[in-house]
C-alpha cells in the first residue's frame, strides 16, 4: 500500500515543482494546459475516492470470496454468480422486483397524467392544488414510509377503511399478508411520486397549443373526448420519459421496504436491493457485489433505453 502511494506522490511533486517555478507560471501555454485540471481536481479526488475506487472494488469482490473483516479475499471467479443463480432467494427477489415494476408502471403513467390535466386547467385554485399534490415529493422517504406503516397497521386508517368497505371481515394489515405486502409497499412509492411525475406531464401539456382544444370544443368535443383524442396522444413523449424514470427509480427503492416489511413476510417483499442489503448485513459482501452487478446491468439497460428515447424525442422536437 505504502509503495504504491509513494509511486503516485513522487512524480506529482516533481510536476508541481516544475509548475511552481516562476518562469513556468509566467509561461501562458503551460498555465493554460493546467487550468482545466485545476477546476476539475477537487471533484476528481472526491469522486475518484468515494465512487470510482469502491465501484472497481465491487467488481473485484464479485469474483473473490472477500472477507470484509479480515480485508482479504481469494479469487473464486464465477462462484459467486453460480451461487446467486442457484439461490432461490435471488430468483424470488428478481421476481419481486419485476412484479413491483409491473404494478407501479401503469399507475405512475396514468395517475400523474390525470393530476396534471386537472391542475393545468384555467380555474381558481389550480396553483394551490399543484402544491398540495407535490407535498409527498418533498417528504423525506423515511417519514413517508413510517406514516404509511402506521396507517396500514391494524386499527389504522387503511385497515379500518377496508373493514368498513367490507373488503375484509376482520382488521387486516396489508403489509403483513404475503399476498398483499408487495402491493401495499408499491402504493407508498406511487403516492410519493405522484407530484413529481405530474410536473413532468405539466411540462408536456404546456407544449400542446391551446387552440387545438378551442377548435375541438367548437366542434362539440366533450372534455373526456379531448383527453382521449388530443391530450393522451400529444403526451406520448412524456409517457415514455415517465415510464423509463419509473423503471430506473423503481428497481432501486429501499426505504419503503426496509422500514415497513424488512423484505417479509417470508420474502414476499424481498427485491433485488433487499437481497443485496441482506447479504451485506450477513457480511457476504462478495455475494452482495455479484448481485449488485446484476442490478447494475438492469440499471444500465434502463438508462440506455432512456437516453435513446430522450434523444429521439429531441430529434423529433428539432424535426
Amino acid at each position: 500500500m505504502m509503495t504504491t502511494e509513494e509511486n503516485l506522490v513522487v512524480p506529482m511533486t516533481k510536476k508541481q515543482r516544475k509548475l511552481l517555478s516562476m518562469s513556468q507560471l509566467k509561461n501562458p501555454k503551460t498555465l493554460k494546459k493546467m487550468t482545466p485540471w485545476l477546476f476539475l481536481i477537487p471533484s476528481i479526488i472526491v469522486l475518484g475516492t468515494f465512487f470510482i475506487i469502491p465501484i472497481l472494488e465491487a467488481f473485484l469482490w464479485s469474483i473473490q470470496d472477500y472477507k470484509i473483516i479480515a480485508g482479504t479475499g481469494e479469487f473464486v471467479w464465477f462462484e459467486n454468480f453460480q451461487y446467486i443463480f442457484s439461490d432461490p432467494k435471488f430468483w424470488n427477489a428478481l421476481k419481486n422486483t419485476f412484479l413491483f415494476l409491473i404494478f407501479i408502471l401503469p399507475l405512475n403513467v396514468f395517475l400523474p397524467m390525470v393530476l396534471a390535466v386537472l391542475v393545468n386547467q384555467q380555474i381558481r385554485g389550480a396553483k394551490a392544488f399543484r402544491i398540495l399534490y407535490y407535498l409527498p415529493v418533498i417528504t423525506p422517504m423515511v417519514v413517508a414510509a413510517l406514516m404509511w406503516k402506521s396507517m396500514y397497521a391494524q386499527g389504522g386508517m387503511i385497515s379500518n377503511a377496508l373493514l368498513s368497505l367490507g373488503i375484509f371481515d376482520s382488521p387486516t394489515n396489508l403489509l403483513t399478508s404475503s399476498s398483499t405486502a408487495l402491493f401495499a409497499v408499491a402504493a407508498i412509492t406511487v403516492w410519493k411520486g405522484l407530484g413529481y411525475y405530474m410536473i413532468i406531464y405539466l411540462a408536456g401539456l404546456q407544449s400542446i397549443p391551446r387552440d387545438v382544444y378551442e377548435s375541438s370544443s367548437i366542434d362539440g368535443a366533450t372534455p373526456f373526448q379531448q383527453f382521449r383524442k388530443i391530450t393522451v396522444p400529444m403526451l406520448i413523449p412524456s409517457v415514455t420519459l415517465v415510464s423509463v424514470m419509473t423503471i430506473i427509480a423503481g428497481m432501486k427503492i429501499f426505504e419503503e421496504i426496509q422500514l415497513t416489511t424488512g423484505g417479509g413476510p417470508a420474502g414476499a417483499t424481498s427485491t433485488l436491493v433487499m437481497y443485496i442489503y441482506d447479504n451485506f448485513k450477513q457480511l457476504d459482501v462478495s455475494v452482495a457485489s455479484a448481485a449488485g452487478l446484476v442490478l447494475l446491468v438492469l440499471a444500465i439497460g434502463a438508462s440506455l433505453l432512456q437516453m435513446k428515447l430522450t434523444s429521439n424525442r429531441e430529434e423529433d422536437l428539432r424535426g
Binding site: 471533484s43 472494488e57 409527498p136 415529493v137 418533498i138 417519514v143 386499527g155 413532468i200 422500514l259 438508462s303
Partner: protein
C-alpha cells in the same frame, strides 16, 4: 344558453370534488401524522382519528427524552456541510467540461455520465470498508462523502454553462481577466437559478438520506433524523408511534419551508432532474 351555463357549473363542481378527493390522498397521511403527534400519553393511538386532548408533550419528549435535539443538530451539520461543498465542487468541475478544449475531456465526461447510472447498492460495501479505513466511520464528514461532489451536479451545471452565450466571457478575456475570474465573476452569477436547483437537490438528498447514514453511523450520537426515527420504529408500539409522528413533523418542516420559499425552482428542478433517473 341557460342550460349550457348550468352544465358548465355542474362540470366545475364535479371537477373541484375530484381535486379535493385527490388532495385527501396526497395530504391525508400528513393530517393523520399531525393528529397522532398531538395525542396524549393516556390516549390509545387508534381510539379516534382526532386527538381527544391535544398536547405538544410528544414534541417536548422527542427533544427531551428521545434525543431528537441531537439528531436534528447532526442533520443540520451534515446538510450545512454538504450543500456549499457540492455547489463549489460541481460548479468548478463543470466549467472546463463546458467551455475548455483539453485532452481527456471526452473521457472525463464519459466517466461522469457512466457513474450516474451506477446504483449505490453496488458499491456500498466497499465504500463502507473505505470510510472505516480512512477514519470516517461515525463522523459527520463520513456521512456526506456521497454529496461533496456528484456526477449529477456536474452534469446539471455543465448544461447550465452551455446555455449562456460565449460572447460575455470573451469580452471579459479581452479586458484581461483570467479563467478563474471569468468563471467566478461572469459565469457563476448567470447560472444562479441552476445553483439554487442543485442546492435543493443536495439539500433534499442529504436531509432525508437513509441507507448510507444507516451503514456509516455506529453510535446514536451520530444519528440523523432519519436514522433516529428508524431506530425508534424498531419498536412500533403506541408510545413510540406518537414520538415518531412528532419527529416526522419536525423532520418535514424544514423541507416544507424550503419548498414554500423556493417553489418555482422545485418545478424547474423536477424537469431538469429528469436526466438523473
Amino acid at each position: 344558453m341557460k342550460s349550457h351555463k348550468k352544465t358548465l357549473l355542474v362540470r366545475k363542481i364535479f371537477l373541484y370534488a375530484i381535486m379535493v378527493a385527490i388532495t385527501l390522498v396526497t395530504v391525508g397521511p400528513f393530517l393523520m401524522t399531525i393528529f397522532m403527534s398531538l395525542k396524549s400519553a393516556s390516549e390509545g393511538i387508534y381510539d379516534s382519528v382526532l386527538p381527544m386532548a391535544p398536547t405538544f408533550q410528544n414534541f417536548i419528549d422527542a427533544f427531551a427524552k428521545a434525543n431528537f435535539g441531537s439528531y436534528f443538530m447532526n442533520t443540520v451539520i451534515v446538510t450545512a456541510l454538504a450543500v456549499p461543498l457540492n455547489l463549489l465542487f460541481c460548479s468548478l468541475a463543470a466549467y472546463p467540461l463546458a467551455r475548455m478544449d483539453f485532452r481527456g475531456r471526452g473521457a472525463v465526461l464519459a466517466i461522469i455520465i457512466a457513474t450516474m447510472m451506477v446504483p449505490f447498492q453496488l458499491y456500498m460495501a466497499p465504500l463502507f470498508q473505505l470510510t472505516g479505513e480512512l477514519g470516517l466511520r461515525n463522523t459527520h464528514i463520513g456521512l456526506i462523502v456521497l454529496q461533496v461532489s456528484t456526477a449529477f451536479g456536474i452534469f446539471l451545471m455543465r448544461q447550465a454553462y452551455l446555455r449562456i452565450p460565449k460572447e460575455l466571457e470573451e469580452s471579459a478575456y479581452i479586458d484581461g481577466a483570467n479563467q478563474f475570474q471569468v468563471w467566478y465573476k461572469v459565469v457563476l452569477p448567470l447560472v444562479k437559478p441552476t445553483l439554487v436547483t442543485l442546492a435543493i437537490f443536495t439539500f433534499m438528498g442529504t436531509w432525508g438520506d437513509y441507507l448510507w447514514p444507516l451503514l456509516n453511523s455506529e453510535s446514536s450520537s451520530m444519528y440523523t433524523l432519519s436514522i433516529g426515527m428508524a431506530s425508534l420504529a424498531q419498536n412500533f408500539d403506541g408510545a413510540n408511534l406518537k414520538l415518531i409522528s412528532a419527529a416526522s413533523i419536525i423532520t418535514t418542516i424544514p423541507t416544507l419551508l424550503i419548498f414554500i420559499g423556493l417553489q418555482k425552482f422545485f418545478i424547474s428542478g423536477a424537469t431538469d432532474g429528469a436526466v438523473k433517473g
